[in-house]
């Protein structure tokens, strides 16, 4: 689990650093049935960029890609960063604008993931 989290942090941190921010904060919280990872930067992004991050982090379920290629997340870092590698492996992702930049929230959990026991805002999950 530790390596898995480190790889996801590595890939997403690379994405953030590609934007050359002067500040990046990564915060990890253990929750009842998994992990909540929050990444903040001070890089202002357009609505289109935020939407593109959001869709990359909330892709359609692709077991054939996540199990096989997901291993490259945060490991094979030569080239552009790839948020879809992260998106395939997290249970839920939120992207929001902050006063000075962007905040990405990722929720990681087991196969029997239950969003109700996580700190995911209810209006987002529809529960």
């Amino acid at each position: 689990m530790k390596e898995y989290i480190l790889h996801l942090i590595g890939e997403i941190a690379r994405y953030i650093l590609d934007g050359d921010p002067s500040r990046m904060v990564i915060s990890l919280h253990r929750e009842q049935d998994g992990i909540h990872l929050a990444i903040l930067d001070n890089n202002p992004r357009s609505e289109k960029e935020i939407e593109s991050i959001r869709s990359a982090l909330n892709p359609e379920r692709r077991p054939e890609l996540s199990e096989y290629y997901g291993i490259m997340a945060g490991h094979d870092l030569l080239g552009s960063s790839r948020l879809n590698l992260v998106g395939w492996q997290v249970k839920h992702a939120e992207v929001s604008r902050t006063q000075e930049g962007t905040k990405i929230d990722l929720w990681l959990g087991g196969e029997n993931f239950d969003s109700s026991v996580f700190s995911i805002p209810k209006e987002r999950t529809g529960t």
Partner: protein
């Protein structure tokens, strides 16, 4: 629930597969084709065995269609969406069934991958791509069953067990091999199968089993084979236009801007329309290359073109492929090789496995990679005794690993210095 886009892709692939089978029966006649098809299951399958030269064009085309139908059926059963990677897997299986893959030698490997998923406590869907592409080691099954010198049921049991064992070992190897080239070799399973094949070939050599490479190459392809890929490419382009010509064209242009590094599902990233146009144009361009170089439109070459078309949905496009092909051509000129000879023409078509290097790092790196690929690929088949049908994937993996190591070192050093 299937989307209309996915239903459309199912219909297109079904038409291609059915068309191939029907064409086979038409060109060779039903009885002769069926006889040839049965005989093909028992014929040698190691590189390079052109099935169109062995039991007739019809038998080869029907074999190709049936193996592709197996792939499509497995995708459907595993409930994985039909998209870029699965289309690439099915068309690659279809292509290689013109020179090495048969139903008999593919199924045991797929069963092995299935068992591997069970042991790892994962759904088969998670290992589906390894099952589709892993059939590259099919010749191992055929070799043990029909060419090992063992008799009847012992040979059959050994061959099937070896196939299952191979499939079982493939997933961990494939996952591990990805790190070596970091997704810059599109045929990662070819790389993995070549690696595994090294051990098997060494075992055979130790047991004094001969694995010399023989080339069976159809030098007089029929009109049906010559027109097959242009017609298929035209069909794909027509489908893309019918699905929405403006979107197809705009998304095709957007695809050209992507690096193509694994995993790049163009259907998901852009659209089915743009992807089909990309696939069709790649098929046409490849055909023009074969025609201009006076290559033979036979089983292996059609296999290369079908794989090129298939990966037009999963990493390859005109912009990232041409530098690699140019590199192969330059290498041929440098070393005085005939562009139409089996090695060089297959290296040009399959060498596009290195297209992501050109897509990510530019034309010069792409040309350099293609240049190196040619002389590597001519060497590597002997290492695994022709057991790995994706020899270009094996060689491509080695070439990509070399380039990735050099580029990574250069970038890291430069960043440290600055």
């Amino acid at each position: 629930m299937k989307s209309s886009k996915e239903t459309g892709l199912y219909i297109i692939l079904s038409i291609i597969i059915t068309g191939s089978i029907l064409l086979g029966f038409v060109v060779q006649g039903v009885n002769s084709t069926l006889k040839g098809l049965i005989a093909l299951q028992t014929r040698p399958a190691r590189l390079i065995t052109d099935y169109t030269a062995l039991e007739g064009v019809g038998a080869a085309l029907v074999n190709s269609g049936l193996v592709a139908a197996l792939g499509l059926g497995v995708v459907k059963l595993s409930k994985v969406i039909l998209s870029g990677p699965t289309i690439a897997g099915i068309l690659t299986m279809m292509g290689f069934a013109l020179f090495g893959k048969t139903l008999l030698n593919c199924i045991p490997i797929m069963i092995g991958v299935y068992l591997s998923a069970k042991v790892a406590n994962k759904p088969f869907a998670a290992y589906l791509l390894m099952a589709l592409f892993g059939t590259a080691l099919g010749p191992l099954v055929t070799f043990l069953v029909f060419q090992s010198g063992l008799n009847g049921s012992l040979a059959m049991s050994l061959g099937v067990l070896a196939g299952i064992g191979t499939g079982f070992c493939l997933p961990p190897i494939a996952i591990s091999m990805l790190h070596l080239h970091q997704g810059y070799n599109l045929y990662n399973i070819g790389f993995s199968c070549g690696f595994f094949g090294l051990f098997v070939a060494s075992l055979f050599t130790a047991a004094k089993i001969n694995l010399d490479i023989k080339v069976i190459w159809n030098t007089e392809p029929s009109l049906a084979l010559i027109l097959y890929i242009p017609a298929l490419s035209g069909f794909l382009i027509l489908c893309s236009i019918l699905m929405g010509h403006k979107k197809a064209f705009l998304d095709f242009l957007s695809i050209q801007k992507l690096p193509g590094r694994l995993p790049s599902d163009f259907v998901d990233q852009l659209s089915a329309e743009g992807t089909l146009l990309n696939m069709g144009l790649l098929g046409l361009s490849g055909s023009v290359y074969v025609y201009v170089t006076k290559g033979d439109f036979n089983g292996p070459v059609l296999g290369g073109l079908l794989t090129l078309i298939g990966f037009g949905s999963f990493g390859k496009h005109l912009k990232n492929c041409w530098p690699v092909v140019t590199g192969v051509v330059l290498s041929c000129f440098t070393f005085g090789k005939n562009l139409a000879a089996p090695g060089p023409i297959l290296a040009a078509l399959f060498g596009t496995t290195l297209a992501p290097l050109a897509g990510q790092f530019g034309v010069t790196i792409g040309i350099a990679a293609g240049f190196v690929h040619l002389f590597m690929v001519e060497r590597t088949a002997a290492w695994h005794g022709g057991l790995d049908l994706y020899n270009n994937g094996f060689s491509g993996g080695l070439t990509a690993a070399l380039f990735v190591a050099l580029i990574e070192w250069y970038r890291t050093t430069r960043q440290t210095l600055s």
